[in-house]
């Protein structure tokens, strides 16, 4: 039906006939129904004013196939009512999917939805991927487009992590570089923990960089960082994620972690019992140490100064200047 039109003007001059069919008769199992979310607002609207816009069906066969309008058909079916639809006639699954995308383009916002659509076309006819990406608002060769295509290289069940918010699309930049064994090894860290977008990207980046740097597989990296211990320990999710992140970072930056730990320990000793806080502000790139104190009166200023004088006599200051050791 749409053969010569991929996908320029196929529907522009179409005058599809309206059909009225019992909602329960419609086959709603088509794989082109890409984002069939239940929609309470649609249900309330149907209950209040009835069906205002037609669904799309292919009524060329013995049983009408739903092409768009799953939420409306589901609710009307529950009510035992008829559905008004436009009969688009017989066409391929890809054409149906494209019509579905166009009909739902206004509510397309999630990366997971775009990936689901791309995966459908990748499985049915990859030659149309570029055209589909344009309809989805993905500019070919842009970073989001590359990430969406990279995601398709992951096993299909990983789409649920994307849809559930466990992983952002940007992780595809890293995950696409891993083999099935590596992917399987890392799944545990987001199956049970709900990471913030920034932190999971950071943790995966560190894991990947250790994996490449040390020439070991991802499972070995996770084992060296005792990640599974943290996942399985009786910790709150927040503490578990913080511990995993800290351990992976320590593996990625061992010397920096050692210096930070020493600086923290030294600051704790030097400033013990005082109001002073001490930090090394620039990852040991300079010899600077920052000291800060909060005071609320001239008397507290005097006290802070006295504390600082006592601190200055401490022998442990040298530990702050690693560039001068060795």
């Amino acid at each position: 039906m749409f053969e010569n039109t991929w996908w320029g003007t196929m529907t522009r001059d179409q005058r599809w006939p309206v059909v009225r069919v019992p909602a329960q008769d419609i086959d709603c199992s088509g794989p082109w129904l890409l984002w069939p979310h239940k929609n309470d607002a649609v249900c309330r609207s149907l209950a209040h004013v009835g069906q205002l816009s037609p669904v799309l069906v292919d009524a060329s066969g013995p049983r009408p196939l739903l092409v768009d309008g799953a939420a409306r058909v589901a609710w009307l079916s529950e009510q035992g009512q008829d559905v008004y639809g436009l009969n688009i006639g017989s066409c391929s699954a890809q054409d149906k999917a494209m019509l579905y995308i166009h009909a739902n383009i206004h509510r397309l916002s999630l990366d997971a939805d775009k990936v689901r659509a791309l995966r459908f076309f990748a499985q049915h006819d990859a030659s149309h991927i570029d055209a589909v990406m344009q309809v989805l608002g993905l500019v070919p060769h842009s970073r989001p487009a590359k990430q969406a295509l990279a995601w398709l290289a992951l096993p299909a069940h990983w789409d649920t992590y994307l849809a559930g918010g466990a992983l952002p699309l940007v992780c595809a930049d890293i995950l696409r570089l891993w083999d099935a064994h590596d992917l399987q090894a890392v799944e545990a860290i987001f199956q049970t923990l709900s990471w913030s977008r920034g932190l999971i990207v950071q943790v995966l980046t560190w894991i990947h960089e250790v994996h490449v740097r040390d020439g070991c597989d991802v499972a070995q990296v996770l084992a060296r960082a005792d990640v599974m211990d943290s996942v399985q320990a009786n910790l709150s999710p927040k503490d578990a994620m913080a511990r995993i992140a800290a351990r992976v970072r320590a593996l990625r930056y061992p010397e920096l972690t050692r210096l930070e730990q020493r600086a923290t320990d030294t600051a704790r000793v030097l400033a013990a019992g005082t109001r002073w806080r001490m930090v090394q502000p620039d990852q040991f790139e300079s010899d600077s140490v920052e000291l800060a104190a909060r005071v609320r009166s001239p008397a507290e200023v005097q006290q802070a100064v006295a504390e600082l004088v006592r601190m200055a006599e401490h022998a442990d200051w040298a530990a702050f200047w690693p560039g001068k050791e060795a």
Binding site: E209, V210, R213, P254, E255, L259, D282, F284, S286, G323
Partner: protein, 364 residues
């Protein structure tokens, strides 16, 4: 006979304004098989060409002479760049040019008369000033020499300006410019040095081997030139001590300390974006996953104690070979200078002045 890395140039694009220039004639003569496209005034080279396929002879309208783009917080050597073109056909994984320019098309500024005028004006207006200049910042100084003869032209032009010392920084061997140099004290041929493993793995695309570079350096030294060596970027990798020790040993197999004007040491550092380019273009280059932190200038730098450790190792080896005064750091902090060399540029009147003195030390 052109080197192999230049034989792949299948197309030359040339701005109409410079299509009759001596540079254009020379390139046409040396690349007779290449397609020759003249770009009208205002017409741009269409994007998307791979760097090896196209050479662009351009009418450059910007400033040819500019200071080296040093950053704040670190000690810059203050040398002046003579801008003769952009990009390089060699494939060094760590090359900043991957991230620095929007495309990788080889460009040569073919309006040499404009360059000569600007240089003449600069030297005339500052006739009592000495200049330490070089062309190896935005391209390799010699990599296109068989095609363009640019360095030879420049060396010849600068004969009239004894207040200029020109450094030609390269990873290839082309000594054709030597004939144009009447005073060997005014030209400093320079080669990049690295550990043999880094040179073999990370300097792809027909760079000369370390031995070939050092052999060329010795040829220059025998002809009265002093040479410069640049350990930059120094890279942390498993076995780096043995690698850099071997290179230092090689240096003294070919050169004496007196042959060397100066040696720079620079740890691998980069704009944040370069890491992405390296990971993409050179996926085997795992050194980018070292312990880099954001330096005071916003660039990524190896954690300071690790830099200091490497610098101390190299400096010790170079000192044992008789080099000391000639050693300096490229873009390092006073803390690192003090920790490794026991002095900072302030102790000898500033790095700019110090290197100027070293550059002109061989003057009669």
């Amino acid at each position: 006979m052109l080197p192999e890395y230049l034989q792949g140039i299948a197309r030359v694009a040339v701005d109409a304004a410079v299509s009759a220039s001596p540079m254009a004639h020379r390139v046409r003569e040396r690349l007779p098989q290449a397609q020759w496209d003249i770009l009208a005034d205002g017409e741009h080279l269409e994007p998307g060409y791979v760097q090896e396929a196209v050479l662009y002879l351009k009418q450059y309208k910007g400033r040819f002479v500019r200071p080296c783009p040093g950053t704040s917080h670190y000690q810059c050597c203050g040398y002046q760049i003579i801008h003769i073109g952009e990009n390089c056909p060699l494939r060094c994984s760590y090359c900043i040019l991957q991230a620095y320019f929007q495309d990788r098309v080889l460009k040569v500024w073919a309006n040499q008369d404009d360059l000569w005028q600007e240089l003449e004006r600069t030297f005339t207006e500052n006739s009592r000033q000495r200049f330490r200049m070089g062309t190896g910042e935005f391209t390799d100084s010699l990599v296109l020499e068989p095609l363009t003869g640019y360095s030879r032209d420049l060396v010849g032009f600068l004969r009239a300006y004894p207040q200029v010392c020109l450094e030609l920084k390269s990873k290839v061997v082309d000594l054709s410019w030597m004939e144009a140099a009447h005073d060997p004290t005014r030209v400093l041929p320079a080669w990049s040095m690295n550990a043999p493993e880094i040179s073999a793995r990370e300097e792809q695309g027909q760079c000369a081997t370390l031995e070939e570079r050092l052999r060329a350096a010795r040829t220059c030294a025998q002809a009265g030139f002093r040479v410069c060596l640049h350990f930059d970027p120094i890279i942390l990798f498993p076995g780096w001590e043995a690698g850099y020790a071997r290179t230092i040993e090689m240096i003294f197999d070919y050169l004496t300390p007196g042959d060397i004007a100066y040696v720079s040491l620079g740890s691998f550092r980069h704009m944040p974006d370069l890491k992405r380019h390296i990971a993409q273009n050179f996926p085997q280059s795992s050194y980018i996953y070292g312990e880099f932190i954001t330096g005071l200038d916003g660039k990524q730098r190896l954690l300071r104690p690790l830099r200091v450790q490497q610098f101390r190792f190299l400096v010790q080896g170079l000192r044992q070979g008789g080099l000391d005064r000639q050693l300096y750091f490229c873009m390092e902090s006073n803390e690192v200078w003090q920790a490794v060399l026991g002095r900072t540029p302030r102790d000898f009147g500033g790095l700019y002045r110090y290197l100027m003195d070293l550059a002109f030390e061989g003057s009669n």
